[in-house]
Symmetry: C2
Subunit: 197 residues, 2 copies
């Protein structure tokens, strides 16, 4: 499992407490790897037991005490070893696709409303990504270079949200009209790809 490695990567970038890490999983890396605070605390305990991370307790006057975790040299080797191995992509499990697959059993009105709502939500996410991209491009070249890798993952996120929105709009329309798609997807994509070049 790579929750372990996601944590090591975050701690390699910057040491932090369990709470900090849980927050960090809410944005940035959280766009492609999710973890709850419980997962983080439990995993930190294991990593600590395996000597892959270490911590120092920082007493705080008016806040609860903090355990600030840091990656160890052993942890860094383990991380590098993991990076060398080819990924085995996790299973794709999309509840929405399962639902569309069985849409003949569903209430059409409810499904239409649900799609409308999902389109809004994904559009908001895309808007957020678009804003981050504008920020990236307004930075100087040195900053852009430094932020290159996170930005590449953002480009993946933008593509991802974009196609979901396009697909959901298409499905919503077709279900409403009780119609069939006219042209093969492959054809449409090939045509669009030509223009990009």
């Amino acid at each position: 499992m790579s929750l372990k490695h996601a944590i090591l990567i975050l701690l390699d970038k910057q040491p932090g407490s369990g709470y900090d890490l849980a927050q960090r999983f809410g944005g940035g890396i959280g766009n492609f790897w999710n973890a709850t605070h419980q997962q983080v605390y439990q995993e930190l305990k294991k990593l600590s037991g395996d000597q892959l991370v270490e911590f120092e307790v920082h007493a705080q006057a008016e806040r609860p005490d903090k355990k600030v975790y840091r990656i160890t040299p052993t942890g860094r080797s383990a991380l590098k070893a993991w990076l060398k191995q080819p990924v085995k992509e996790g299973r794709i499990n999309s509840t929405l696709l399962v639902k569309i697959y069985a849409a003949h059993l569903a209430d059409p009105v409810a499904l239409d409303q649900e799609l409308a709502q999902l389109i809004i939500e994904h559009q908001q996410k895309l808007d957020g990504y678009a804003e981050l991209e504008r920020l990236y491009f307004s930075a100087d070249v040195a900053t852009r270079r430094k932020q290159r890798l996170p930005y590449l993952t953002l480009r993946s996120g933008i593509r991802y949200e974009w196609i979901w929105i396009e697909w959901m709009k298409e499905v919503k329309q077709l279900l409403a009209d009780d119609a069939l798609p006219e042209k093969p997807m492959m054809e449409l994509l090939a045509k669009a790809a030509k223009v990009k070049r």
Copy 2:
């Protein structure tokens, strides 16, 4: 969890044994919901205990006995109730994105090779999808109408593989050249979208 509901959907379409279902999770619905044979057997047991499915033992002469499962009326109601509720989309967890995010710690040659391999694999998957689409479009309208919902999920799969391939190619190139993307993703997508209309 919707492994439960995926199984109910499959059994609603057509009764079958645990083995059958496990096979069916290898294609069709398996493109967006995965399950191993163990998951299937364990879930069938639970579903059976909850009276959502029932089974008959079919003795076979030269093969092990088969338990042929069927959805019950209770199961069908449970399925419909589930379909009414809005989906909560599962967490996105992409090991590859985590790796790219931390590519500065990785061996560039190994990463390049890995991307090359992944591009090939996803291209093969896309080719398979393209073939299924050709098949769909070569069928008569009645068949196309009957296969509409699975085909809509296929369109999602095609888009999905397509953007992964595009993104991986882009990343591979940029990492090899140690370059930065020139244009914002949003701009490229907007331009491509205009042409499709």
